[in-house]
Symmetry: C2
């Protein structure tokens, strides 16, 4: 097969687009997909400072490299959860990339950031690990974005992540989640704007992108994510894509185009009452302190709620 | 395991409901599921004559038996498509049941009904076989219901059929199909009321029901349906149900509860313009003759449209 652009030997096939590229034009292709999402959904400009959460996995490493190459102004942030060897390797990978690419990186440690450690928090909360980690990461990134004077918070969720989440939400008709699932969540008081520029690219395509550049990344899945629902839904979507190519992108684009736009105004409005935490100002459905501030307080009091 | 009702030995497990029944109470359970759907969606009463399309497969045989046992007034209709041995066996099965159960059955033959044969029609139409068969069957059943003075047309679509169809429609966001997917389609001028009383019961549960009664049914799939998309989607939904029991019914019930009710009025209204066929009075999106009358004319003219 020949490269779609230069007709040289194609090293990388992209079956989803029924095409192939040489290494150079594969990079251009991925950049083009990312820029299309950034521009279409008005995510950010080259003048803004964008904060990117980098875990050390292929997705965030790929997006980090791509945004730098495309000339965006990236402040990378890594949170080390202290999950043992996995976390230490992850930190090493992002530090190495920052050095080699002269990239801005801030590293934070879970305990210093939150005032308690992750394993301790798990004892007090009846949530799956991935769910608690997600809540605490979103909370921390929102706070850090303000401190670091970033205008927008970028995450490396890709097409496979989004459709796995979408499938789960649709199978259970989680209307509150469905209403909020979007490539862009605009800023609100207490909440920074959040965007996902990698939504047009799959797991496999991002993996090839980092490999083409020879970028180190963490190949293992987080040890706590074993058996996560999202892995199961990704496998289901892979089967559908293999049988009917194009299913993934059509499913996601159809959702963006046909779901929210067809909902009644009042359905979009009827959210749970949203208040702001009396402690940190973070948006919360609670009346007093937000989930994270309450959890912190509970841990500090040895499991008892302060009266 | 013991029967949930009488505590006798349970012969039949129903994993989806985390329970088991003896043969007698399994029958009661299935009847209860069917009556729940009939009553909840106000499908029909014991005073009305309901027309049931019976193919000879497990679903229609099960529903036929259940409706008779429940005391409904059923006029069964079988259409023999002349697909060779498969069709002849199917006709024999429904005739045998009618005799043994003293049930009302009318048998029709595709060619006499439509004025052309199915294989001939396939040459003139660019549709998958299952899709063409579906269009022609719905057309015929609608016409026959009037002739037979039935108030409602019943089909034996079950939970697996409905969610396979739903999954396909959602993966492609087929809004027109999604808007019309319902356990009940009310009567409109030229169109009889259509209902699906088996929507709370799965393939496997209906199979067990006919086997418990010792009713003969066609075990083979229609030879033309090999590779049908619906088989693939059913397999996907089976995987989801095995991993997360309850997924099937939640997916369907959530759709009924949360999808249409949350759509804008204008979205529900903005259907394609709907006219009535100048030849047969069937509802059509065409301006002159409906799809079936046009097809008939085309076949009669040897493939050319009449000027």
């Amino acid at each position: 097969m020949k490269c779609q652009v230069c007709r040289d030997k194609a090293d990388i096939k992209v079956p989803r687009h029924k095409t192939a590229f040489c290494t150079k034009h594969y990079i251009v292709h991925i950049h083009h997909q990312i820029e299309r999402a950034i521009n279409k959904f008005k995510m950010f400009s080259k003048e803004e400072i964008v904060m990117l959460g980098v875990s050390g996995g292929k997705d965030s490493m790929a997006l980090w490299k791509a945004l730098i190459e495309l000339g965006y102004n990236v402040q990378a942030v890594h949170i080390n959860n202290r999950f043992g060897e996995f976390s230490e390797k992850s930190e090493a990978v992002v530090r190495k990339f920052a050095e080699e690419n002269n990239a801005d990186l801030k590293v934070y440690y879970f305990e210093e950031l939150n005032g308690f450690n992750f394993k301790e928090a798990l004892k007090y909360v009846n949530k799956p690990v991935c769910s608690l980690c997600g809540v605490l990461k979103r909370y921390a990134l929102n706070r850090l974005a303000k401190e670091l004077k970033c205008e927008v918070s970028v995450t490396a969720h890709n097409l496979d992540d989004e459709i796995a989440f979408l499938l789960g939400n649709i199978l259970h008709w989680q209307m509150d989640y469905l209403k909020r699932q979007s490539p862009v969540l605009e800023a609100e008081p207490g909440m920074i704007k959040k965007v996902k520029p990698a939504i047009r690219v799959t797991d496999e395509e991002l993996r090839k992108y980092v490999e083409v550049w020879g970028i180190d990344y963490i190949k293992d899945k987080c040890p706590y994510s074993v058996g996560a629902t999202s892995h199961f839904y990704k496998n289901i979507m892979d089967q559908l894509e293999t049988q009917y190519p194009g299913t993934k992108i059509n499913f996601y684009q159809g959702f963006i185009k046909n779901f929210k736009t067809n909902l009644k105004e009042e359905v979009l409005k009827t959210k749970k009452a949203e208040n702001y935490c009396t402690e940190c100002g973070y948006k919360t459905i609670r009346e007093d302190k937000c989930f994270v501030c309450s959890l912190k307080e509970r841990i500090q009091n040895g499991g008892k709620f302060k009266k």
